[in-house]
Symmetry: C2
Subunit: 224 residues, 2 copies
Protein backbone atom coordinates (compact mmCIF):
# COMPACT_ATOMS: atom_id res chain seq x y z
CA UNK A 1 0.00 0.00 0.00
CA UNK A 2 1.21 3.50 -0.81
CA UNK A 3 2.31 5.57 2.15
CA UNK A 4 0.55 8.88 2.54
CA UNK A 5 2.50 12.14 2.75
CA UNK A 6 1.37 15.67 3.55
CA UNK A 7 3.23 18.20 1.40
CA UNK A 8 3.35 21.86 2.38
CA UNK A 9 2.64 23.29 -1.01
CA UNK A 10 2.87 26.94 -2.03
CA UNK A 11 3.05 26.38 -5.78
CA UNK A 12 6.60 27.71 -5.74
CA UNK A 13 9.77 26.27 -7.20
CA UNK A 14 10.81 24.49 -4.01
CA UNK A 15 7.52 22.93 -2.97
CA UNK A 16 6.71 21.84 -6.52
CA UNK A 17 10.07 20.07 -6.65
CA UNK A 18 9.15 18.43 -3.33
CA UNK A 19 5.86 17.24 -4.80
CA UNK A 20 7.65 15.77 -7.82
CA UNK A 21 10.12 14.01 -5.48
CA UNK A 22 7.28 12.65 -3.35
CA UNK A 23 5.51 11.32 -6.44
CA UNK A 24 8.75 9.70 -7.63
CA UNK A 25 9.08 8.08 -4.19
CA UNK A 26 5.59 6.68 -4.65
CA UNK A 27 3.95 8.56 -1.81
CA UNK A 28 0.22 9.12 -2.00
CA UNK A 29 0.30 12.92 -1.96
CA UNK A 30 -1.87 15.28 0.11
CA UNK A 31 -0.98 18.88 -0.64
CA UNK A 32 -1.67 21.70 1.80
CA UNK A 33 -1.73 25.40 0.86
CA UNK A 34 -2.49 28.46 2.93
CA UNK A 35 -4.07 31.80 2.39
CA UNK A 36 -2.46 33.72 5.22
CA UNK A 37 -2.75 37.29 4.09
CA UNK A 38 0.35 37.06 1.91
CA UNK A 39 0.46 39.82 -0.70
CA UNK A 40 1.41 37.26 -3.34
CA UNK A 41 -1.72 35.18 -2.73
CA UNK A 42 -1.78 34.46 -6.46
CA UNK A 43 0.56 31.60 -5.50
CA UNK A 44 -2.44 29.70 -4.15
CA UNK A 45 -3.98 29.63 -7.65
CA UNK A 46 -0.73 28.20 -9.01
CA UNK A 47 -0.72 25.62 -6.23
CA UNK A 48 -4.25 24.55 -7.11
CA UNK A 49 -3.44 24.12 -10.80
CA UNK A 50 -0.24 22.21 -10.05
CA UNK A 51 -2.00 19.94 -7.55
CA UNK A 52 -4.58 19.15 -10.24
CA UNK A 53 -1.82 18.53 -12.78
CA UNK A 54 -0.06 16.10 -10.46
CA UNK A 55 -3.32 14.34 -9.60
CA UNK A 56 -2.80 14.51 -5.85
CA UNK A 57 -5.09 12.49 -3.59
CA UNK A 58 -6.39 15.72 -2.03
CA UNK A 59 -5.45 19.38 -2.09
CA UNK A 60 -6.53 21.50 0.84
CA UNK A 61 -6.41 25.27 1.05
CA UNK A 62 -6.76 26.70 4.56
CA UNK A 63 -7.21 30.34 5.49
CA UNK A 64 -5.10 31.44 8.44
CA UNK A 65 -5.25 34.77 10.30
CA UNK A 66 -1.47 35.21 10.40
CA UNK A 67 -1.76 38.66 8.87
CA UNK A 68 -3.86 39.74 11.89
CA UNK A 69 -0.75 39.43 14.04
CA UNK A 70 1.25 41.71 11.75
CA UNK A 71 5.03 41.91 11.92
CA UNK A 72 6.01 41.02 8.35
CA UNK A 73 6.34 42.92 5.12
CA UNK A 74 4.95 39.84 3.40
CA UNK A 75 1.53 40.36 4.97
CA UNK A 76 1.42 43.96 6.18
CA UNK A 77 0.24 46.45 3.54
CA UNK A 78 1.97 49.26 5.43
CA UNK A 79 5.39 47.63 5.00
CA UNK A 80 7.02 47.30 1.59
CA UNK A 81 8.80 44.12 0.50
CA UNK A 82 12.37 45.27 -0.12
CA UNK A 83 14.64 44.47 -3.02
CA UNK A 84 17.32 41.86 -2.37
CA UNK A 85 20.23 43.57 -0.62
CA UNK A 86 22.70 40.74 0.01
CA UNK A 87 22.55 41.21 3.78
CA UNK A 88 22.83 38.17 6.04
CA UNK A 89 20.25 39.63 8.45
CA UNK A 90 16.82 38.01 8.63
CA UNK A 91 14.81 40.20 6.25
CA UNK A 92 11.48 42.02 6.73
CA UNK A 93 9.69 39.28 4.83
CA UNK A 94 10.21 36.94 7.79
CA UNK A 95 6.78 35.88 9.09
CA UNK A 96 6.98 35.04 12.81
CA UNK A 97 6.49 31.31 13.48
CA UNK A 98 5.17 30.68 9.98
CA UNK A 99 6.63 27.25 9.45
CA UNK A 100 5.60 26.21 12.97
CA UNK A 101 2.03 27.23 12.20
CA UNK A 102 2.13 25.49 8.80
CA UNK A 103 3.69 22.32 10.22
CA UNK A 104 1.14 22.26 13.05
CA UNK A 105 -1.70 22.11 10.55
CA UNK A 106 0.18 19.51 8.50
CA UNK A 107 0.59 17.47 11.67
CA UNK A 108 -3.11 17.72 12.48
CA UNK A 109 -4.01 16.59 8.97
CA UNK A 110 -1.43 13.79 9.13
CA UNK A 111 -2.98 12.52 12.32
CA UNK A 112 -6.48 12.59 10.82
CA UNK A 113 -5.29 10.75 7.67
CA UNK A 114 -3.12 8.22 9.51
CA UNK A 115 -0.08 9.60 7.71
CA UNK A 116 3.35 9.83 9.34
CA UNK A 117 5.28 11.73 6.66
CA UNK A 118 5.30 15.49 6.21
CA UNK A 119 7.33 17.10 3.44
CA UNK A 120 8.52 20.71 3.51
CA UNK A 121 10.61 22.58 0.96
CA UNK A 122 12.83 24.16 3.58
CA UNK A 123 16.29 24.95 2.36
CA UNK A 124 19.19 26.56 4.11
CA UNK A 125 21.62 27.21 1.31
CA UNK A 126 20.11 29.73 -1.14
CA UNK A 127 17.60 31.20 1.29
CA UNK A 128 16.88 34.31 3.26
CA UNK A 129 18.19 33.15 6.61
CA UNK A 130 14.79 32.34 8.09
CA UNK A 131 15.33 30.51 11.40
CA UNK A 132 12.56 28.00 10.73
CA UNK A 133 14.28 26.59 7.63
CA UNK A 134 17.22 25.10 9.53
CA UNK A 135 17.91 21.46 10.34
CA UNK A 136 17.92 21.82 14.14
CA UNK A 137 14.49 23.45 13.99
CA UNK A 138 13.03 20.65 11.90
CA UNK A 139 14.41 18.06 14.32
CA UNK A 140 12.86 19.93 17.24
CA UNK A 141 9.50 19.92 15.46
CA UNK A 142 9.71 16.15 14.98
CA UNK A 143 10.00 15.80 18.74
CA UNK A 144 6.93 18.01 19.21
CA UNK A 145 5.04 15.90 16.65
CA UNK A 146 5.86 12.75 18.60
CA UNK A 147 4.78 14.13 21.95
CA UNK A 148 1.81 16.25 20.81
CA UNK A 149 -0.21 13.50 19.21
CA UNK A 150 -2.19 10.46 20.15
CA UNK A 151 -0.51 8.42 17.43
CA UNK A 152 2.96 9.67 18.36
CA UNK A 153 2.34 8.52 21.94
CA UNK A 154 1.30 5.15 20.54
CA UNK A 155 4.69 4.78 18.86
CA UNK A 156 4.18 6.21 15.36
CA UNK A 157 7.28 8.12 14.27
CA UNK A 158 6.39 11.31 12.45
CA UNK A 159 9.07 12.33 9.98
CA UNK A 160 9.55 15.85 8.68
CA UNK A 161 11.21 15.38 5.31
CA UNK A 162 13.10 18.33 3.90
CA UNK A 163 14.60 16.84 0.72
CA UNK A 164 15.96 20.21 -0.47
CA UNK A 165 17.57 21.16 2.84
CA UNK A 166 21.18 21.00 1.71
CA UNK A 167 20.81 21.75 -1.99
CA UNK A 168 21.53 25.08 -3.61
CA UNK A 169 18.90 26.52 -5.94
CA UNK A 170 20.63 25.21 -9.08
CA UNK A 171 20.69 21.68 -7.67
CA UNK A 172 17.01 21.91 -6.77
CA UNK A 173 16.20 22.97 -10.34
CA UNK A 174 18.32 20.21 -11.84
CA UNK A 175 16.62 17.64 -9.63
CA UNK A 176 13.20 18.97 -10.64
CA UNK A 177 14.01 19.02 -14.34
CA UNK A 178 15.10 15.39 -14.15
CA UNK A 179 11.66 14.65 -12.70
CA UNK A 180 9.93 16.62 -15.45
CA UNK A 181 8.86 19.67 -13.44
CA UNK A 182 7.59 22.50 -15.65
CA UNK A 183 8.89 25.50 -13.71
CA UNK A 184 6.94 27.92 -15.89
CA UNK A 185 3.89 26.82 -13.90
CA UNK A 186 5.51 27.66 -10.54
CA UNK A 187 5.73 31.02 -8.84
CA UNK A 188 8.23 32.28 -6.28
CA UNK A 189 8.01 36.08 -6.29
CA UNK A 190 7.00 37.88 -3.07
CA UNK A 191 5.60 40.73 -5.16
CA UNK A 192 3.94 38.74 -7.93
CA UNK A 193 1.11 40.65 -9.60
CA UNK A 194 -2.36 39.22 -9.98
CA UNK A 195 -1.39 37.73 -13.35
CA UNK A 196 1.44 35.85 -11.60
CA UNK A 197 4.24 37.93 -13.15
CA UNK A 198 7.41 38.18 -11.05
CA UNK A 199 9.16 41.39 -9.99
CA UNK A 200 12.66 40.03 -10.62
CA UNK A 201 14.27 41.88 -7.73
CA UNK A 202 12.93 40.59 -4.38
CA UNK A 203 14.98 38.00 -2.45
CA UNK A 204 12.91 35.16 -3.79
CA UNK A 205 13.27 36.28 -7.43
CA UNK A 206 17.00 36.85 -7.07
CA UNK A 207 17.65 33.36 -5.65
CA UNK A 208 15.44 31.80 -8.33
CA UNK A 209 17.04 33.70 -11.19
CA UNK A 210 20.52 32.83 -9.94
CA UNK A 211 19.44 29.17 -9.71
CA UNK A 212 18.40 28.93 -13.34
CA UNK A 213 21.59 30.67 -14.40
CA UNK A 214 23.83 28.35 -12.36
CA UNK A 215 21.87 25.33 -13.58
CA UNK A 216 22.67 26.44 -17.13
CA UNK A 217 19.04 26.24 -18.13
CA UNK A 218 16.58 28.73 -19.52
CA UNK A 219 14.62 30.70 -16.91
CA UNK A 220 10.95 30.23 -17.84
CA UNK A 221 9.73 32.81 -15.30
CA UNK A 222 7.47 35.55 -16.68
CA UNK A 223 8.68 38.88 -15.37
CA UNK A 224 6.48 41.96 -15.19
CA UNK B 1 8.59 47.75 33.23
CA UNK B 2 5.95 45.05 33.24
CA UNK B 3 6.78 41.89 31.31
CA UNK B 4 4.29 40.94 28.65
CA UNK B 5 2.67 37.50 28.60
CA UNK B 6 0.46 35.83 26.02
CA UNK B 7 -2.27 33.78 27.68
CA UNK B 8 -4.12 31.08 25.77
CA UNK B 9 -7.57 31.95 26.91
CA UNK B 10 -10.73 29.94 26.36
CA UNK B 11 -12.84 31.55 29.07
CA UNK B 12 -12.82 28.24 30.93
CA UNK B 13 -12.01 27.47 34.55
CA UNK B 14 -8.35 26.66 33.89
CA UNK B 15 -7.40 29.51 31.59
CA UNK B 16 -9.25 32.07 33.72
CA UNK B 17 -7.28 30.88 36.73
CA UNK B 18 -4.12 31.28 34.61
CA UNK B 19 -5.12 34.85 33.78
CA UNK B 20 -5.67 35.63 37.46
CA UNK B 21 -2.26 34.14 38.29
CA UNK B 22 -0.59 36.15 35.53
CA UNK B 23 -2.20 39.36 36.81
CA UNK B 24 -1.06 38.53 40.35
CA UNK B 25 2.47 38.00 38.99
CA UNK B 26 2.25 41.49 37.46
CA UNK B 27 2.44 40.39 33.83
CA UNK B 28 0.97 42.72 31.22
CA UNK B 29 -1.60 40.30 29.83
CA UNK B 30 -2.41 39.62 26.18
CA UNK B 31 -5.19 37.05 25.90
CA UNK B 32 -5.66 34.89 22.83
CA UNK B 33 -8.87 33.00 21.99
CA UNK B 34 -9.78 30.88 19.01
CA UNK B 35 -12.88 30.12 17.04
CA UNK B 36 -11.89 26.77 15.61
CA UNK B 37 -15.22 25.22 14.79
CA UNK B 38 -15.74 23.99 18.37
CA UNK B 39 -19.38 23.20 19.06
CA UNK B 40 -19.14 25.10 22.34
CA UNK B 41 -18.07 28.32 20.63
CA UNK B 42 -20.11 30.20 23.24
CA UNK B 43 -16.87 29.97 25.26
CA UNK B 44 -15.41 32.72 23.11
CA UNK B 45 -18.11 35.13 24.34
CA UNK B 46 -17.22 34.27 27.91
CA UNK B 47 -13.55 34.80 27.11
CA UNK B 48 -14.29 38.24 25.70
CA UNK B 49 -16.27 39.32 28.76
CA UNK B 50 -13.62 37.98 31.14
CA UNK B 51 -10.81 39.67 29.21
CA UNK B 52 -12.73 42.95 29.50
CA UNK B 53 -13.32 42.36 33.20
CA UNK B 54 -9.62 41.77 33.83
CA UNK B 55 -8.63 44.80 31.75
CA UNK B 56 -6.11 42.96 29.63
CA UNK B 57 -3.77 44.94 27.39
CA UNK B 58 -5.29 43.28 24.32
CA UNK B 59 -7.63 40.39 23.63
CA UNK B 60 -7.38 38.77 20.25
CA UNK B 61 -9.85 36.27 18.77
CA UNK B 62 -8.56 34.33 15.76
CA UNK B 63 -10.57 32.05 13.50
CA UNK B 64 -8.82 28.80 12.63
CA UNK B 65 -9.93 26.17 10.10
CA UNK B 66 -9.20 23.23 12.42
CA UNK B 67 -12.71 21.88 11.91
CA UNK B 68 -11.94 21.57 8.16
CA UNK B 69 -9.50 18.79 9.00
CA UNK B 70 -12.14 16.85 10.94
CA UNK B 71 -11.19 14.04 13.30
CA UNK B 72 -12.71 15.24 16.57
CA UNK B 73 -16.14 15.03 18.14
CA UNK B 74 -15.50 18.54 19.47
CA UNK B 75 -15.67 20.01 15.97
CA UNK B 76 -17.40 17.42 13.77
CA UNK B 77 -21.19 17.70 13.74
CA UNK B 78 -21.45 14.08 12.63
CA UNK B 79 -19.73 12.85 15.82
CA UNK B 80 -21.38 13.18 19.22
CA UNK B 81 -19.47 14.31 22.30
CA UNK B 82 -19.78 11.36 24.67
CA UNK B 83 -20.59 11.36 28.35
CA UNK B 84 -17.67 10.85 30.74
CA UNK B 85 -16.95 7.13 30.96
CA UNK B 86 -13.94 6.90 33.28
CA UNK B 87 -11.76 5.32 30.60
CA UNK B 88 -8.06 6.16 30.46
CA UNK B 89 -8.09 6.15 26.63
CA UNK B 90 -7.72 9.45 24.82
CA UNK B 91 -11.38 10.41 24.16
CA UNK B 92 -13.13 11.41 20.93
CA UNK B 93 -12.96 15.06 21.97
CA UNK B 94 -9.21 15.03 21.30
CA UNK B 95 -8.45 17.58 18.57
CA UNK B 96 -5.32 16.57 16.65
CA UNK B 97 -2.40 18.95 17.27
CA UNK B 98 -4.66 21.56 18.86
CA UNK B 99 -2.26 22.85 21.47
CA UNK B 100 0.57 22.89 18.92
CA UNK B 101 -1.55 25.04 16.62
CA UNK B 102 -2.61 27.31 19.50
CA UNK B 103 0.94 27.63 20.84
CA UNK B 104 2.25 28.39 17.34
CA UNK B 105 -0.05 31.39 17.07
CA UNK B 106 0.84 32.44 20.61
CA UNK B 107 4.50 32.23 19.63
CA UNK B 108 3.93 34.34 16.53
CA UNK B 109 2.13 36.97 18.56
CA UNK B 110 4.82 36.84 21.27
CA UNK B 111 7.47 37.51 18.66
CA UNK B 112 5.53 40.46 17.24
CA UNK B 113 4.98 41.94 20.74
CA UNK B 114 8.52 41.30 21.98
CA UNK B 115 7.12 39.02 24.66
CA UNK B 116 8.91 35.88 25.84
CA UNK B 117 6.28 34.39 28.13
CA UNK B 118 3.38 32.22 27.03
CA UNK B 119 0.90 30.85 29.56
CA UNK B 120 -1.26 27.78 28.97
CA UNK B 121 -3.76 26.14 31.32
CA UNK B 122 -2.51 22.63 30.55
CA UNK B 123 -3.01 20.21 33.37
CA UNK B 124 -2.22 16.54 33.61
CA UNK B 125 -3.95 15.51 36.78
CA UNK B 126 -7.74 15.92 36.38
CA UNK B 127 -7.75 15.85 32.59
CA UNK B 128 -8.76 13.68 29.67
CA UNK B 129 -5.35 12.24 28.86
CA UNK B 130 -4.67 14.56 25.94
CA UNK B 131 -1.03 14.07 24.87
CA UNK B 132 -0.44 17.79 24.36
CA UNK B 133 -1.12 18.62 28.01
CA UNK B 134 1.93 16.78 29.35
CA UNK B 135 5.19 18.25 30.67
CA UNK B 136 7.49 16.59 28.10
CA UNK B 137 5.40 18.03 25.28
CA UNK B 138 5.57 21.55 26.70
CA UNK B 139 9.35 21.28 27.04
CA UNK B 140 9.63 20.12 23.43
CA UNK B 141 7.60 23.12 22.31
CA UNK B 142 9.93 25.47 24.18
CA UNK B 143 12.79 24.09 22.11
CA UNK B 144 10.80 24.68 18.90
CA UNK B 145 10.08 28.24 20.06
CA UNK B 146 13.78 28.89 20.55
CA UNK B 147 14.80 27.53 17.15
CA UNK B 148 11.81 28.72 15.09
CA UNK B 149 12.12 32.39 15.79
CA UNK B 150 14.37 35.30 15.00
CA UNK B 151 14.36 36.40 18.63
CA UNK B 152 15.00 32.87 19.88
CA UNK B 153 18.05 32.68 17.61
CA UNK B 154 19.18 36.00 19.07
CA UNK B 155 19.17 34.49 22.55
CA UNK B 156 15.70 35.29 23.91
CA UNK B 157 14.42 32.37 25.99
CA UNK B 158 10.74 31.70 25.36
CA UNK B 159 9.05 30.14 28.36
CA UNK B 160 5.86 28.13 28.18
CA UNK B 161 4.33 28.52 31.63
CA UNK B 162 1.81 25.91 32.70
CA UNK B 163 1.09 26.98 36.28
CA UNK B 164 -1.71 24.42 36.71
CA UNK B 165 0.25 21.48 35.35
CA UNK B 166 0.52 19.48 38.55
CA UNK B 167 -2.58 20.67 40.39
CA UNK B 168 -5.80 18.73 40.65
CA UNK B 169 -9.04 20.52 39.83
CA UNK B 170 -9.82 21.30 43.47
CA UNK B 171 -6.39 22.90 43.95
CA UNK B 172 -6.89 24.98 40.80
CA UNK B 173 -10.23 26.22 42.13
CA UNK B 174 -8.79 26.99 45.56
CA UNK B 175 -5.94 28.93 43.96
CA UNK B 176 -8.41 30.86 41.79
CA UNK B 177 -10.74 31.66 44.68
CA UNK B 178 -7.80 33.05 46.66
CA UNK B 179 -7.19 35.36 43.69
CA UNK B 180 -10.84 36.37 43.55
CA UNK B 181 -11.87 34.49 40.40
CA UNK B 182 -15.64 34.46 39.88
CA UNK B 183 -16.10 31.00 38.40
CA UNK B 184 -19.74 31.67 37.57
CA UNK B 185 -18.39 33.73 34.66
CA UNK B 186 -16.31 30.82 33.29
CA UNK B 187 -17.45 27.98 31.09
CA UNK B 188 -15.97 24.52 30.68
CA UNK B 189 -18.67 22.32 29.11
CA UNK B 190 -17.99 20.73 25.70
CA UNK B 191 -21.72 20.73 25.02
CA UNK B 192 -22.66 24.13 26.42
CA UNK B 193 -25.81 25.54 24.86
CA UNK B 194 -25.95 28.99 23.30
CA UNK B 195 -26.93 30.49 26.67
CA UNK B 196 -23.75 29.03 28.16
CA UNK B 197 -25.53 26.37 30.25
CA UNK B 198 -23.50 23.22 30.95
CA UNK B 199 -24.57 19.63 30.26
CA UNK B 200 -23.15 18.27 33.53
CA UNK B 201 -22.06 14.94 32.08
CA UNK B 202 -19.24 15.42 29.53
CA UNK B 203 -15.62 14.87 30.66
CA UNK B 204 -15.10 18.56 31.17
CA UNK B 205 -18.23 18.97 33.30
CA UNK B 206 -17.45 15.90 35.38
CA UNK B 207 -13.91 17.07 36.23
CA UNK B 208 -15.20 20.56 37.02
CA UNK B 209 -18.05 19.36 39.22
CA UNK B 210 -15.73 17.00 41.12
CA UNK B 211 -13.29 19.91 41.58
CA UNK B 212 -15.85 22.14 43.30
CA UNK B 213 -16.97 19.26 45.48
CA UNK B 214 -13.42 18.38 46.56
CA UNK B 215 -12.63 22.04 47.11
CA UNK B 216 -15.61 22.15 49.51
CA UNK B 217 -17.03 25.16 47.78
CA UNK B 218 -20.30 25.86 46.05
CA UNK B 219 -20.42 25.02 42.35
CA UNK B 220 -21.64 28.20 40.64
CA UNK B 221 -22.03 26.51 37.23
CA UNK B 222 -25.42 26.92 35.57
CA UNK B 223 -26.55 23.53 34.31
CA UNK B 224 -29.14 23.08 31.57
Amino acid sequence: MQKKAIILFSGGLDSTTCLAIAKAQDFQCYTLSFNYGQKHSVEVEHAKRLADFYGVAEHKILSLPIGDLAGSSLTDKKLAVADYNGSSDIPSTYVPARNTIFLSFALAWAEVLDAADIIIGANHVDYSGYPDCRPDYLQAFEQVAKLATKRGREGVIFTIHAPLLNMNKAEIIQQGLQLGVDYSKTISCYRADDKGRACGSCDSCVFRKKGFKEANTEDPTVYA
